[in-house]
């Protein structure tokens, strides 16, 4: 069959149509779908977000440490800033991110190795419970209630 013998509409059908994507923004955000996801999908999205938070914190931390090169006066004024209650609240957020990332990472490592697959949901909720309790304890401790 020659090209001219093709059925009507063949050329149009060969053009790729649009691909529907999930996510709030462009196609690259498809993994962040806030609509009716299960615990696994939400855990995956939160795992990526907390991973980014931890990476950003790492570079901030390195930047802050470089202030020591400037001298003790710069470091002292910085310390007065970061010991404010509002700044300490960010520490609680960081601890929550680290705990979620770590605990969910254990779950992903086990399940992703084919171990305890049937208990992955239970592990998720157990990790969430442990992490929540630890964050509450840390918040009370850091913000001075303990």
């Amino acid at each position: 069959m020659s090209a001219t013998d093709k059925l009507p509409g063949t050329a149009e059908r060969e053009q790729p149509g649009p691909i529907r994507h999930k996510g709030p923004g462009p196609a690259e955000s498809g993994w962040v779908d806030p609509r009716r996801r299960g615990h696994g999908g939400r855990a995956l999205a939160l795992h990526r977000v907390t991973g980014l938070v931890i990476v950003v914190y790492l570079y901030l931390h390195l930047g802050v440490l470089s202030m020591l090169l400037i001298g003790s006066s710069a470091w002292g004024s910085f310390l007065s800033l970061v010991t404010a209650k509002s700044f300490l609240a960010l520490e609680v957020v960081l601890i929550a991110a680290v705990l979620f990332h770590g605990l969910n990472g254990i779950r992903v490592a086990l399940v992703g190795s084919g171990l305890a697959v049937s208990r992955e949901r239970a592990m998720f909720w157990a990790g969430t419970a442990i992490g929540t309790a630890a964050v509450i304890f840390a918040a009370l401790h850091i913000l001075g209630a303990l």
């Binding site: 149509g17 994507h21 993994w31 609509r35 615990h39 999908g41 995956l44 992703g112 084919g114």
Partner: protein
């Protein structure tokens, strides 16, 4: 079915995705649809097609969740429209085509990219049954070709009524429905990894590969494992379990992906040989 829908008084507002080639891009059309207690999303879409807009394109066939052709997103969640009850949804229901596959028109996606992902060695014989003589660990199936297959005696097979020479599994044996996948594409649509990685072969193809390990049908085990261990295959999964949640046939694709990983990490073909 459509007649019974139209006699009901209660209505729901449907937002339906529309796309026609050369027709100004994508949009959503809204329709007020009368519904009853047993109306499905597919009933409602067919009502729209017959009473409001005949140009609405949708794909369906069996009407009982067997053929897997009517997969759509209902309020962002993958579902077979034929068994998705309207009463379980909200007052406004958004219906979109499956994600991660190109749209042909309206709610119809091009499934070629879905089937293309399956392992090329996947056998075309679809029937399954417990062996007529399970003791010798071999099954003889006749189809287009006659193939002699090695089947581990530990793998329970479900009885197929059309294969008289296959007997049912022994009493008390656990039945594992190895043929449950209806290839509807819902898992690929729900997969958060497939959303950003079009190279990823996806849950259905990996589950099919794992099924080949359980019931090889003449396919070499090491070929399946080599296929599954490619970078765009089993290691791309990020353990979101959305595929298992979306699967309407309980084919447990996520669990099968994890079983493949376990096989790759802890039990290769050499280990398996040594067990025999």
């Amino acid at each position: 079915m459509t007649t019974s829908v139209s006699t009901q008084q209660e209505t729901r507002r449907f937002r339906v995705y529309r796309y026609k080639r050369g027709d100004g891009g994508e949009r959503f059309d809204e329709f007020e649809v009368p519904v009853g207690p047993h109306t499905t999303v597919l009933d409602a879409l067919r009502w729209i097609q017959r009473h409001r807009d005949p140009s609405l394109a949708l794909r369906h066939s069996c009407l009982h969740a067997s053929c897997g052709t009517c997969g759509v997103q209902v309020d962002g969640r993958e579902a077979l429209a034929c068994v998705c009850a309207v009463r379980d949804q909200g007052a406004q229901i958004t219906v979109e085509p499956l994600a991660n596959l190109p749209v042909l028109t309206d709610l119809v996606v091009e499934m070629h990219g879905f089937f293309e992902r399956f392992p090329h060695a996947h056998p075309i014989i679809r029937s399954s049954g417990a062996p007529a003589d399970a003791d010798d660990g071999e099954v003889h199936l006749e189809g287009t070709h006659e193939i002699t297959l090695d089947v581990p005696s530990a793998v329970p097979l479900h009885h197929h009524p059309h294969h008289d020479r296959h007997r049912a599994a022994p009493p008390g044996a656990d039945f594992v429905r190895l043929e449950d996948c209806i290839e509807c594409g819902l898992c690929l649509s729900a997969c958060p990894v497939a959303a950003t990685s079009h190279d990823y072969v996806g849950p259905a193809a990996l589950a099919a590969a794992e099924r080949l390990l359980e019931e090889p049908r003449g396919v070499r085990r090491e070929d399946v494992l080599a296929w599954a261990s490619r970078p765009e295959a089993v290691w791309r999964c990020h353990v979101g379990f959305e595929c298992t949640k979306a699967c309407p046939a309980d084919a447990i694709p996520a669990e099968r992906i994890m079983a493949l990983r376990r096989e790759l990490m802890f039990g290769g073909p050499d280990d398996e040989e040594s067990k025999r």
